[in-house]
Symmetry: C2
Subunit: 341 residues, 2 copies
Amino acid sequence: MQRTEIATLGEFGLIKHLTEDIKLHHSSSKYGVGDDAAVLSYDNKMTLVTTDMLLEGIHFDLTYFPLKHLGYKAAVVNFSDIYAMNGCPKQITVSLGISKRFSVEDIDALYAGIRLACEHYNVDIVGGDTCSSMTGLTISITCIGEAEAGNIVYRNGAKENDLVCVTGDLGGAYMGLQLLEREKSVLKGAGEDTQPNFEGKEYLLERQLKPEARRDIIQQLAEADIKPTAMMDISDGLSSEMLHICKQSKVGCRLYEEHIPIDYQTAVMAEELNMNVSTCALNGGEDYELLFTVPIGDHDKIIKIEGVKLIGSITAPELGYALIARDGNEFELKAQGWQHC
Amino acid sequence: MQRTEIATLGEFGLIKHLTEDIKLHHSSSKYGVGDDAAVLSYDNKMTLVTTDMLLEGIHFDLTYFPLKHLGYKAAVVNFSDIYAMNGCPKQITVSLGISKRFSVEDIDALYAGIRLACEHYNVDIVGGDTCSSMTGLTISITCIGEAEAGNIVYRNGAKENDLVCVTGDLGGAYMGLQLLEREKSVLKGAGEDTQPNFEGKEYLLERQLKPEARRDIIQQLAEADIKPTAMMDISDGLSSEMLHICKQSKVGCRLYEEHIPIDYQTAVMAEELNMNVSTCALNGGEDYELLFTVPIGDHDKIIKIEGVKLIGSITAPELGYALIARDGNEFELKAQGWQHC
């Protein structure tokens, strides 16, 4: 593969190369890349802002994370935060710190992934910063979105007797990571012909390498006229996020292990690794599913939405944070899990 | 000094520690730290967004950059970008990548600087991200500001015969950096009692270690009813920024070396280092002064504003980018300078 050193373009040259054919699609994007700041117009709407930093060696390992996928994921995790407010992502800024190890072609691949995510979710790239780093790759993306003032859903609105809902299935991204780490260590020192074996585990790879944000659920909730009382996305694990909602809402909860949605491939992989699959689903991060609560009166509407599972209910704060195991035993829900940081 | 390991707090603990007593001051800051995204309200105003990433070893050297100053500067450089659009900064998000080398006290010092800058410029901290890094310190700040739609000043509006104006003086921050680098190499291997000698050069240190954004000038321009035709802040050097304005405005320029404002300490330091002081002023970066153009009809108003110097004029594009030296010789203005990246 061709390798063009970034130094041949320089900072301004690289920015131009990466951004010159970017088009703006939203009426709220008034001016994008190319000035001291981007100009946005959010008349009569609330503006949502979220930011995420991804660091090589901490959040991703390039030995198995293709740069295009990494770019896609870096953008999507930000969109997910805006959807988790019941909003719609509209713009991002992209800051990159790039060491000499990376070529222009590498950064093109990364940017192609970011742009693909932006196309897919209809988001404009309106600015950023590109500079060299001493070591490794640093990606910092800020996403700006919009919502009607009355539609925003915070983490602190869950009420006693609300239903606890989760989208998709959990633990898959974590199992995908375990799989990639296992293949990496198997391949270390193996001959060049050795190929990693991912057969029958494609879903786990996809969960880790190309997560999607649940725009579809946000749209379906709106169509069904359901406004969650509290919501967040699951980046650090179900237990951790459930406790955030409970603590910020000053309520307790009862979750049922048997109702936590788990994909077949996740279960098989956990078995292979001799891990408890529920523990993975409770504490594995990066699924980017939505965790939310709705009033019990919405029960009949919510069960009609495909991809949403009821996993428990909100209780009085003095009842604490309970996990009811399959055998009926009750445990205290704890955030054990997954912390990059 | 006490040293508390960040691991004793964990990610969420550190975020709480850093942000729990943050208060929001602006009516546009509806909800700050503590949810998936911050919520802002920019009714009837344009929203401005800018972002800057600072990486250890590239943008700063902690052997002579105190963390509190670094925090202050990291925030101010973002405010400067918003002022350069003729806007007003209102909110920031702060993302930090922190290696094990740093203690809670270190990050407290950094954050104290960020908060001091926010107090000074009346800006709310509304969100961010904090995570560990493999090596070094990474700071990524995004600033959101506001402006009336009709007041925004881009880089692309300079017209033939406009006056070229610059605020403050130039080259000081670059000379401050040279001074710090010199003392660093002098002190290497010297006894512990050896103290760096900065006497008579305090202004240069301040320019490098504690730059300010020119809010005062933006306010005075508004009071004098002057709207620049083009504007940007000088982070990469006067030559480089002037060329940005000319190219984006499709015009030429004539700048006069003798009118470029230079402080006495900058001149003395350049002499000591046997450097051409005009070259330093043209190509030294990080002064965060404003470079802007105004219609010639504003001449009498602009010369009344203290801290603004007229350094040249805008010409037809075919006349190119001219620098008139003190001896009357004409050179082509070139961006040679200062690139971190």
